[in-house]
Symmetry: C2
Subunit: 235 residues, 2 copies
């Protein structure tokens, strides 16, 4: 099944990158059948028409794949290396994530954020991971610069913050997730959240959880947390 | 806690890379306290002695950190991109893995294996991930070129193969893992295991398991499987 991404349902043409993949990599020709999703659950079976300048298609069949019964929302401080932020997005998208917020925290290296969080690139990576893992929903990716407002405006659902207080008595995230309901998990930067940020989160309904016995890098923590929230739905 | 790795307990000197990290990055000086592990559970508190040519240390205290009550053994077909094999090793080491075997299967691109599985480099990455996640055991990393013999010689414990047969009735790996006992999980290449390989494994005690609802890339499957085996211990 050759799956392509076209976010605009009114457009029946592949963008440059998708066209290249279609003709140069997959070597498809006019009349071949492809599948196109808008990243919002719509899946269309289409017939290709490869022109000189562009690759268009006409819809043969259209279906809608309903969303899962729960949302996974990961809010994570960006690492200082762009490629680690990129693979976080790729891996969480493969495993299943609805929203990824890169949050600028007190201990986040602000100077580098604009360089290491490139939205256009992150969205391309998410689109490719969505197609590769044969999903039909694109995660929403955002940059959050005002952490306090973000915490206060957080939507309903199970609100968790990956943070191990001195008493080390926090339970693992997998034991706190509720089935068929939304979960948001906060992951701090290297150097962790500041005490003020932890207090702000916990006084706004966020519960401290652990991510396991070993100390994980920020990007590993995000992927492990996202995976654990998905696994909790199976238990 | 500044943790360093010296596999030979008879040597009281840091290698070149560790020495550079100690003096140039951490800017430690003679008399400072460091911790040294041999990657086999031994943890020594040591006093630094920074010489002109080398960085040595004397042990002040020595302790032994017992192994976990279970082993995680992941046998995975290498991807065709070295960096994806490298991050598999890094992430599984952070999450906790005892043995990683890169297995050459029927659908593995043999020509590239020697290029994309660089043992020296993978062991450096594992050592750095072990220290970073403050663990004291190095995973054993190997290249397995004879898949049939490997399957027949597999040690005891829960033997699983990530493979979704046509009937799609396999349970998730997290439901098959037994607490406080060893688990080995086989992960196939792009293009999956060959039917013969699946039959060989299942007739030799390997049970087919799923890794979740979405289709994961090989390296993501390995990390997700390793994580699920560790999480199963908490349930």
């Amino acid at each position: 099944m050759h799956l392509f991404f076209q976010p605009d349902p009114k457009v029946f043409e592949l963008d440059e990158e998708e066209s290249r993949h279609c003709t140069k990599v997959l070597r498809l020709t006019s009349g071949d059948i492809i599948y196109v999703t808008d990243g919002k659950g719509r899946l269309q079976k289409c017939r290709l028409n490869i022109g000189r300048k562009n690759v268009t298609y006409e819809a043969v069949e259209s279906s809608f794949i309903p969303k899962r019964s729960y949302n996974v929302h990961i809010a994570v401080a960006p690492t200082r290396k762009a490629e680690r932020n990129e693979w976080m997005v790729e891996k969480m998208t493969e495993m299943g994530v609805d929203r990824i917020d890169f949050i600028v925290t007190e201990h986040t290296h602000r100077e580098t954020v604009s360089r290491v969080v490139n939205m256009a690139r992150l969205n391309r990576i998410a689109a490719s991971a969505m197609k590769q893992s044969q999903q039909y929903y694109m995660p929403e990716i955002r940059l959050v610069t005002d952490f306090p407002s973000f915490i206060k405006e957080c939507e309903d659902g199970t609100r968790l913050i990956a943070y191990v207080p001195d008493n080390h008595l926090t339970e693992h995230v997998i034991k706190k997730v509720k089935k068929h309901s939304n979960t948001i998990l906060l992951i701090g930067p290297e150097g962790d959240f500041s005490p003020e940020e932890v207090i702000l989160a916990t006084t706004n309904g966020f519960e401290a959880v652990s991510l396991g016995a070993t100390r994980l890098r920020t990007e590993t923590a995000a992927v492990a947390g996202c995976h654990a929230i998905n696994l909790a739905q199976l238990l």
